[in-house]
């Protein structure tokens, strides 16, 4: 009497079951991988702009302070992008007819604003306030990375909520003295200094993880 199934099915059957399990876990892992991949987070992926503005040149090269352009950063929720006027203060003198700067001159002439592409974009239901972070001693580079090494601006952090919470849970590891907030210098984690700064800035850690701190 012939067998309904050939011998190989004895390996095939269990193997296929195992395969299904592997496939499922692979799918889950893949999902996770995608979510944290540069594709989804866009970390380290320069965003093209109408004017290829180089922070590297302006910050590292010319040593211009962040606040020269991002005027609101100490007082307002928004750091602010420089008005065309700000660009023109220098570029009406130097690189007056660099083709690269044509859009800026256009904007100045026509009164049409420059269209910059957002690099750091939070969802609308997240209310981030630059000023308080600056006031309490969170350095620019904690979130924006070493812009002094960025010819074109790119995200250096995922800006995922879990990333925010990492710092809101333990701010001490990310605080720096007030005079170093705008300095392009990587922070050296130092438990003692962190706690000291925490006390100095009167930061109340308890409510830092409240939903209401960021969501309204």
């Amino acid at each position: 009497m012939p067998q309904l199934f050939q011998r190989y099915t004895n390996t095939l059957a269990p193997a296929s079951i195992v395969a299904v399990f592997i496939a499922l876990s692979a799918a889950v892992w893949g999902m996770h991988a995608i979510i944290f991949s540069p594709y989804a987070t866009e970390v380290g992926q320069p965003v093209s702009q109408v004017v290829p503005f180089s922070h590297q040149h302006h910050v590292a090269g010319l040593g211009i302070d962040c606040r020269y352009c991002h005027t609101g950063v100490e007082t307002s929720a928004f750091a602010g992008l420089p008005a065309t006027e700000t660009c023109m203060t220098c570029h009406s003198q130097i690189w007056r007819d660099a083709p690269m700067l044509e859009p800026v001159r256009q904007s100045w002439a026509t009164g049409q604003p420059l269209h910059w592409n957002r690099v750091h974009n939070l969802p609308d239901y997240v209310y981030f306030d630059h000023s308080i972070h600056i006031q309490k001693g969170v350095g620019c580079i904690s979130c924006h990375g070493r812009v002094d090494r960025m010819p074109l601006m790119a995200k250096s952090e995922t800006l995922y909520m879990r990333w925010c919470l990492d710092c809101h849970k333990a701010p001490e590891d990310h605080l720096r003295p007030k005079n170093e907030v705008f300095v392009m210098k990587d922070i050296v984690p130092d438990e003692k200094r962190g706690v000291a700064l925490l006390r100095a800035e009167e930061i109340d850690k308890t409510h830092l993880q409240d939903c209401s701190v960021c969501h309204r």
Partner: protein, 442 residues
């Protein structure tokens, strides 16, 4: 029909024939066609729901839960008979269960599947349902474990998985029988895959039986827990009419009550159509009705104690609620519930009714209606007038509410018809054992 003595051979022959006989009867096609139109309607209703939002239903403030939850509880309740019969009655050595457990387990699965649709659909944002599942997300957030809805997610999914496994394991030896009795090769192969190469080895049987018993042991507390958890959706809340400690037992009793009602609603026609009156005999009807009668009385006790507590507690809100149910705008719901769930089942005291299919069929239908009304009373009537008179309101189901409900009924019957056509609805192997052993006893 001839009452010839059953042998393993004849038994296997007859029971597998139910599935293997060709060509399929026209009646079956018409039935499934009708129920499938229900499925199509369900699709339309769901699409419209996802397109416009839950606002297409009648829900509002204060009645933020309507048909969706009513149907959910109703279906889950129906889904309790199967596991009850196969697990608890197994442990209680009720051999008569064997004839109907496979069928009722299938019923359980499909009912739970229908039920599981509603919690998903009633979400304002169904596309983020996965927020209820614990997993390491990008937000470092977790479900809120204190919420009965999260308990539901675990209870219902566990219940479904375990029932599915239990049902499938029970099927394996019969699938082997199908494999061996089928004539066409491709059919043999399909059943063969399901049979996992079962060959009836004695050692396999031993482990199999042990596993089956263990599953029964696990399913027994599970079946009791599931509807208890569902009842906690209500009793954890502070709403008058919800906030009650008797809910878990009272819900479980109601579940088995409605479950057996649905079992009878389905069995009575099926045994007639497939001429299985000898396998599913009067005895089965009789015993099933007795279970209905018993659980029905427990449910009645539930109603009674609710009203009594309202009076005894002297809590104005509770008192008002009790009266509002009987005399308020939704009085017909209360009276329907009482008639169908308390009065009608009393007929089952008479044996003649317990064993005569037609009256039994009607009674079971009425009980199904009554149990739906009960859930409507619990969900809607409690919500529509709560603490502050200023926020009182009314609720009316829209056409989409009804379409969704009817659609799930269609889905349920579609699955049921497919089941009886494609799988042995009566456990052959177990019956073999019984017939042989009972044959000996005689």
């Amino acid at each position: 029909m001839p009452t010839t003595v059953q042998t393993c051979e004849t038994l296997s022959e007859r029971l597998s024939a139910v599935v293997l006989k060709r060509p399929t009867k026209l009646g079956w096609f018409t039935c499934i066609a009708i129920s499938f139109t229900g499925v199509l309607m369900l699709n339309v209703a769901i699409s419209w729901l996802l397109l416009r939002g839950v606002g297409v239903w009648g829900i509002n403030e204060p009645v933020a839960w309507g048909f969706a939850i009513v149907n959910f509880v109703w279906w889950i309740g129906i889904g309790h008979a199967g596991t009850f019969i196969s697990a608890i009655l197994l442990l209680l050595h009720q051999h008569w269960r064997t004839s109907i457990n496979r069928f009722t387990e299938a019923m359980t699965l499909f009912a739970v599947a229908c039920a599981a649709l509603f919690p998903l659909l009633h979400l304002g944002r169904p596309w983020v349902f996965y927020f209820l599942v614990p997993y390491p997300d990008t937000m470092r957030l977790w479900p809120q474990w204190r919420s009965p809805l999260v308990w539901d997610v675990f209870a219902v999914s566990t219940y479904f998985t375990v029932s599915l496994v239990y049902w499938y394991i029970g099927l394996v030896p019969d699938l082997a029988t199908m494999r061996d009795r089928a004539t066409r090769r491709w059919i043999k192969v399909i059943y063969g895959i399901g049979a996992l190469g079962w060959r009836g080895s004695a050692k396999h049987w031993a482990r199999y039986e042990m596993a089956y018993l263990l599953l029964a042991g696990l399913a027994t507390p599970l079946v009791l827990s599931v509807h208890s958890v569902v009842s906690l959706d209500f009793s954890v809340a502070i709403l008058p009419g919800w906030h009650s400690t008797i809910f878990p037992p009272y819900f479980v009793a109601g579940a088995i009550f409605s479950g057996f009602a649905m079992v009878l609603t389905l069995l009575i026609p099926f045994r007639k159509i497939y001429k299985l009156e000898d396998v599913i005999s009067e005895r089965h009807l009789d015993l099933a009705s007795k279970v209905m009668l018993a659980t029905g009385l427990m449910v009645a006790l539930g109603y009674a104690s609710e009203s009594w507590m309202a009076w005894y507690s002297d809590e104005p809100n509770e008192e008002f609620l009790a009266l509002n149910r009987m005399l308020g705008p939704y009085w017909p719901v209360w009276w329907t519930t009482m008639t169908c769930n308390v009065l009608v089942p009393q007929l089952l005291w008479w044996r003649r009714i317990r064993i005569s299919p037609l009256p039994l069929f009607i009674i079971s239908l009425l009980v199904n209606v009554g149990m739906w009304a009960e859930r409507y009373m619990i969900v809607v009537v409690s919500l529509h007038r709560d603490f502050l008179p200023s926020s009182w309101g009314k609720f009316h189901g829209t056409v989409w509410d009804w379409a969704t409900f009817a659609g799930t009924i269609g889905l349920f019957f579609t699955l049921m018809f497919l089941f009886v056509r494609l799988l042995p609805m009566i456990p052959i192997a177990e019956l073999r054992k019984q017939t042989v052993e009972e044959g000996k006893e005689v």
